[in-house]
Each structure stands twice: as structure tokens, then as C-alpha cells.
């Protein structure tokens, strides 16, 4: 079974992961994705009836601690890496549209 992933789907998933994408890139990825997904379809051969999905890998128990306040990075230190900041806050352009 060959599954094609068309450029429309590629553009849709690119937007889901907030990735800008050109028409040219969408075409290139479409071909590559189809062959990769086709390879993954090999998993359909495996009988997984009554097999639980793996969920944990190491320690199966919950890890709890007291909810105590401890010193953390200062605001000034934190903002060293922020591309834009103002009055101690990270600054971003409009989040909600004004239309």
C-alpha cells in the first residue's frame, strides 16, 4: 500500500508545528514523506491484539516533593536571552488579531 502525502497535507502539518514553508519545500517534503510513511507501514504486519502500549520506561511510581519556595533565576538573568523585553517582561507582537 503506497500512501501519498500531498503538498496540501504537508502545508497543513507545517502549520501545526508553526513552520513557515515554501511551495518548493512542500513539494520536496511530499515525496520524501510518502516513502518514509510507506516504510513505517511495515508495523501493520505485527499483531498487537491485547498488547498494551508502552507508557513508562524507568520508574513506574509517582515522584512527589514538598511544595516549598526556593530561589530561582532572577528576572534580569532570565531576560538575558530574550530577543525583546520591556519592563521585566518578554515582549511579543499582537497575539490576538485586531480585526
Amino acid at each position: 500500500m503506497t500512501q501519498t502525502i500531498d503538498t496540501k497535507t504537508v502545508k497543513h502539518v507545517a502549520f501545526l508545528v508553526r513552520l513557515g514553508i515554501s511551495e518548493e519545500e512542500a513539494q520536496k517534503f511530499s515525496g520524501q514523506f510518502s516513502s518514509i510513511i510507506d516504510y513505517f507501514n511495515m508495523l501493520n504486519e505485527v499483531d498487537t491484539e491485547n498488547v498494551p502500549p508502552a507508557s513508562d520506561i524507568a520508574n513506574a511510581e509517582n515522584v512527589l516533593r514538598e511544595d516549598v519556595v526556593i530561589p530561582s533565576m532572577s528576572r534580569e538573568e532570565f531576560l538575558k536571552n530574550a530577543p525583546r523585553s520591556e519592563r521585566g517582561y518578554v515582549k511579543v507582537p499582537t497575539v490576538l488579531g485586531d480585526e
Binding site: V10, V13, L19, Q32, F33, A54, K80, P83, P93, T94
Partner: protein, 486 residues
């Protein structure tokens, strides 16, 4: 005596008997890096000043005889996905090219506490996504054994820096073979510990349920020494084990006679390079001579390891890399952006390389409505079967032996045009990560003058046996002592 070729314990002996100082050793390493790394290109950042400062402090510790550990004064390199305060940490990505963390990873702190000396950060496939180091957005690294060939990936810079004697040990990270595959390509010993044995705090995450930090060294003894210093419980990482870290070197000399070595038949199939196959047969004979019992075992779901690993990795990576959004740190492309989404779209388009784009998109695809059951959930179910395969095998034998890769190192550019073909080079290393079991890679000979690697796979938390069995092999062979001509 060449200072740059010493094992950790040889250097430790010379340091503590005051025959050399850490400043001398560190300077020798830095000189060699500035001389040789022009060809190899294993380092993204060389920390000359910091290293000499740390070396001086180490010498003071040794002079006072206070708090001296086997790593005090020993120069090391670290993969550039592990956070180092005030030292640029790039993940070899454009998006983090100028990112300087404000805090240390737990592993960085532990090594600093032990007195080890950081000489630099090493190149990698961008965010760990690749098997050749060619996906570094900064530059490719070359294999010290043949500069036209790749060092493997994704810890290709770490492996090359170790192989070319540009550090005394290196810290790599293994999500699906990223320590072991390049170790095999460059004649280095390296371990992927049990998942949860080493803290991931401060490691820039690729796939959180697979990621394991592990040392790369000249031999198994050194590997055991370094793991002892970086392993252990960390309140900052709830997946770390609470159980105490064993003294891995204490029992390393115990004879392996009578132990059961399993050879999984699914790993020895057509497609393996003849020289790799014969090296494996030779290694099995060596273990037989050392008195181990050899048993054929079966890991029936081996061929599904690759699709399980890649599907789950894509899914986890697509979530983990969401934080690279151009608002709080890293590259930010805001020219003409009309809203915050626009910044995300532009920053990620410019900041990520093609392989990263492919993987996060495929991850979102595998997790999206309508495909979740067919891909993500299915892969998690087959992952359970992969884990059961190992449990069944370990009910019969103590340890497994397999190659690290079906071939030796390939040429730069040979596999870059076909992403799927590149994924297939990980066929022997990926299954251990979904299962969580530890695995150690070590040199097993040469094929057409290129190193061949083999892998020992052990039970959960049984790193001691891996070190013991690897050390036994290295007592009767000298592959691991071979170094490239540079």
C-alpha cells in the same frame, strides 16, 4: 610520552604523583586541538580560558590533596546539546547558534565538582537528528581515520574528538545510537546507560523517553570511571533512578568464565559488510576462549525497531522542539511579522535545517487526528513487544553481542540525498532505546582500514556486567589502542 594519548587513569597517576600538572595536560590538549581540529572539525567551541582556569584550580586541589577524584584535572569535551552556563550551547543549529545558557546541566555540575576540565563543546547533527554529523547546521565533522568519511552521528564531534586525541574523555548523548554508532565508526568505547541512570536536566531534549547521556572514552575502564561520576538520582529529573550508583570499576577485573553470551540471530543477516561479519565472528571466538558460553538467541521484533524508534522520536521531538519559537531565547526573525504566529513561522523556517523540519512535521502527522492510532499508538504497542524480546533473551543469557553498524564509516555526501537510507544505518543501535536497556560499544577490529564496532547489550541497570565483559575483551585485544594518523 604523549600527554594527549593518555588514558584517564594514566593521566591521574601522573597528576597525583606530580609528574605533570593539569595545566600542562590541558595546554597540550588545547595546542593539539588548534593544530589538528582544522582537519577534523570536531569542536564547535573551544573553551581555552575557562579550561586553563579550571586546570589551575584542579592543580590546587591536587597540591592540597583535598577532594581529588579520578577525574580531577582531566580534560574533556562535551556534546553541544548539554547546557553549560556562560558557554554557548548550540545543538549545532542556527536557531541556537548564539544561545548562552544561564544554568548548567546536572552532568555539567557533577563534572565540575569532580574537578574535570572542560576544553570545548563538540559538533553534532542538528538537535541530534542524524547518523553522520552532516546535519550540523554549522559544518560537517570528518572521520579522523579517513577525512573523506563521516564520523557517524549524532555525537560525531564527540567521537571524533576522542578518536583524534583531542580530549581525555568525551560526554556524548544517545537517543537511538548516537553514542554507539559514531564510537564504532571512530574506534572509541562508549556507553548508552540504562534510561534514567544519568540525569537529563539541562540536556536539550530530543526524545525525552529515549535520551541518555553517556561517556565516550579510550577503553571500558575509563568509561566505567566517568559513568560513576555522572550517574545518580537528581531531584531535577523525576525519571532518574533512586538506587545507588555501583562502583563500576570494583569488579571490572572479575573473570567472565562461565557467563552466558547471547548472539541474536536477527542481527546476523545478509547485508552486513564482510569485514564487519568476520570481526564479529572473531570477537565471539575470543569470548569463547575466555570461557564464556555462547548461545544463539532470538529478538523476533528486531526489524520493527527502526520504524518504532523513528515514529516515536518524531512525535516526541515535534513536541520538544516547540519551545524554539523565537520569543524567549535563540534566533528570532521578526522582520515584517504582523503577529506572534508570524514570528514562530519565520523563525522556525529560517532557524531549522531540513532534517529537523522533516521530523517535526512527520511527528505532528503521526500524532494528528485520524493517524494517532495507526502510527503513534501502534508504535507504542510494538515497543512493548521489543521490550519483551529483551526480557525473554535475558532470562536465558547474561549479555548480548551485536555489531554497531552493518558497515564501516561511509563517505561524506553518500547518503545525504535519501533520508530513509540514512535512517537505515541505525538499524543495529535503535532497539535498545525504546527498551531502555544499557548498551556499550567498543572497537572490534578493522575492515578496509576503517574501524569496526561491536556492541554489548545488558539488563536494566546492569552496566557493571557490560564494563566487566568489555574490559575482559580489551585485556586480550588491542584494537582500542589503535589511533589514526593525523
Amino acid at each position: 610520552m604523549q600527554l594527549t594519548n593518555l588514558t584517564i587513569r594514566e593521566a591521574h597517576e601522573l597528576l597525583t604523583t606530580k609528574k605533570i600538572s593539569s595545566v600542562e595536560l590541558t595546554q597540550a590538549m588545547l595546542d593539539r586541538i588548534h593544530d589538528v581540529d582544522k582537519k577534523v572539525k570536531s569542536y564547535v567551541t573551544v573553551t581555552d580560558d575557562l579550561a586553563l582556569e579550571q586546570a589551575k584550580k584542579a592543580d590546587e586541589r591536587i597540591a592540597k590533596g583535598e577532594n581529588v577524584t579520578p577525574l580531577t584535572g582531566i580534560p574533556f569535551s562535551m556534546k553541544d546539546c548539554i547546557s553549560t552556563r556562560d558557554v554557548r550551547t548550540t545543538c549545532s543549529s542556527k536557531i541556537l547558534e548564539n544561545y548562552v545558557p544561564q544554568y548548567n546541566a546536572t552532568v555539567t555540575n557533577k563534572l565540575a565538582d569532580s574537578g574535570a576540565v572542560l576544553v570545548g563543546k563538540t559538533n553534532m547533527d542538528e538537535f541530534g537528528m542524524g547518523s553522520s554529523c552532516e546535519n550540523s547546521a554549522l559544518f560537517p565533522t570528518h572521520n579522523p581515520w579517513d577525512l573523506e568519511r563521516v564520523p557517524g552521528g549524532s555525537s560525531g564531534g564527540a567521537a571524533a574528538s576522542m578518536s583524534a586525541s583531542l580530549c581525555s574523555f568525551s560526554i556524548g548523548e544517545d537517543t537511538g545510537g548516537s553514542v554507539r554508532m559514531p564510537a564504532g565508526f571512530t574506534n572509541v568505547t562508549g556507553i548508552k546507560p540504562t534510561y534514567g541512570r544519568v540525569s537529563r536536566y539541562g540536556l536539550i531534549a530530543l526524545a525525552s523517553s529515549f535520551d541518555c547521556i553517556g561517556p565516550m572514552t579510550r577503553d571500558a575502564y575509563d568509561c566505567a570511571t566517568v559513568l560513576e561520576h555522572i550517574a545518580g538520582h537528581d531531584p531535577h529529573d523525576s525519571t532518574t533512578y533512586n538506587s545507588p550508583v555501583p562502583n563500576y570499576t570494583a569488579n571490572i577485573n572479575k573473570p567472565v568464565k562461565g557467563m552466558k553470551l547471547g548472539i541474536p540471530k536477527e542481527y546476523f543477516v545478509a547485508g552486513m559488510e564482510a569485514g564487519v561479519e568476520s570481526a564479529m565472528q572473531e570477537a565471539i571466538r575470543t569470548y569463547e576462549k575466555l570461557g564464556m558460553e555462547i548461545h544463539e538467541v532470538s529478538l523476533p521484533h528486531t526489524k520493527y525497531g527502526l520504524p518504532v524508534y523513528y515514529l516515536l522520536l518524531f512525535a516526541e521531538a515535534s513536541a520538544n522542539l516547540a519551545r524554539m519559537d523565537g520569543t524567549r531565547f535563540g534566533l528570532s526573525v521578526s522582520d515584517g511579522a504582523k503577529d506572534v504566529i508570524d514570528i514562530y513561522l519565520k523563525t522556525r523556517h529560517e532557524g531549522f535545517g531540513d532534517e529537523v523540519k522533516r521530523r517535526i512535521m512527520l511527528g505532528a502527522y503521526a500524532l494528528s487526528a485520524g493517524y494517532y492510532d495507526a502510527y503513534y499508538l501502534k508504535a507504542q504497542k510494538v515497543r512493548t513487544l521489543l521490550r519483551r524480546d529483551f526480557e525473554t533473551a535475558f532470562s536465558k543469557v547474561d549479555i548480548l553481542l551485536v555489531p554497531t553498524c552493518p558497515t564501516t564509516a561511509f563517505k561524506l555526501g553518500e547518503k545525504t540525498s535519501d533520508p530513509l537510507e540514512m535512517y537505515l544505518s541505525d538499524i543495529y543501535v535503535v532497539s535498545t532505546n525504546p527498551a531502555g536497556v544499557p548498551a556499550l560499544a567498543l572497537p572490534a577490529g578493522f575492515s578496509n582500514n576503517m574501524p569496526v564496532g561491536m556492541q554489548l547489550i545488558g539488563k536494566h541497570l546492569d552496566e557493571s556486567t557490560l564494563f566487566q565483559v568489555a574490559h575482559a575483551y580489551q585485556q586480550v585485544t588491542d584494537w582500542h589502542k589503535q589511533t589514526p594518523n593525523l
